[in-house]
Symmetry: C2
Subunit: 125 residues, 2 copies
Amino acid sequence: MEEQANAVGVAFVEHYYHLFDHDRAALVSLYNPTSMLTFEGQRIQGYDHISEKINQLPFDQCRHAISTVDVQPSAVAGGVVVFVSGSLQLQGEEYSLRFSQMFHLIPTGEGGYFVQNDMFRLNYG
Amino acid sequence: MEEQANAVGVAFVEHYYHLFDHDRAALVSLYNPTSMLTFEGQRIQGYDHISEKINQLPFDQCRHAISTVDVQPSAVAGGVVVFVSGSLQLQGEEYSLRFSQMFHLIPTGEGGYFVQNDMFRLNYG
């Protein structure tokens, strides 16, 4: 159970940040109408609003570099909790930004997963 | 639903870090046998092992200062996902350490909550 959750979480992280950096508009496919995103304290619900938020972020090209990925099975059957830390390099900026993000992934019932909970914070320090 | 979850999450955060800083041994009461803690990548399960880990951390006195608390209702009925960032000041150390931590809280059925998922990372940067 833990190994399976770990494989799901690690594969999700790779997929999510690859899409974010290369095909951001496609991220909408990972959310559903009940999904929640809290982005720097701003609460957004539903894949349409989440997609709008992600696509209107004030930068075009970026690169995520992942430092740590922690994964646990959740209390939902087949669910997975993922906790990520890393850095975000924006095009034209000298310094990268540290961030932390957590996801709660729920099985779709069709062999995939969607993001039920997503919380993102930049780490100032 | 969101407001109730938020109240639970904020109260939990206050309680958790107060206990951590003033009565660390009492933290065990917040976990149960299925609880999971991933501490700096180390995976620990069950309140007895989690308690052992927390009480054997290589510092005695510490102070957590919380910077941000984000809360969402989870996919579990009554469940709450909490995402915290802050800093940790160890006694005798000049600089504090930045950290991020997430909790998944599940209702006990008796009006309280226990921690099902707990993941902690120091943020180096």
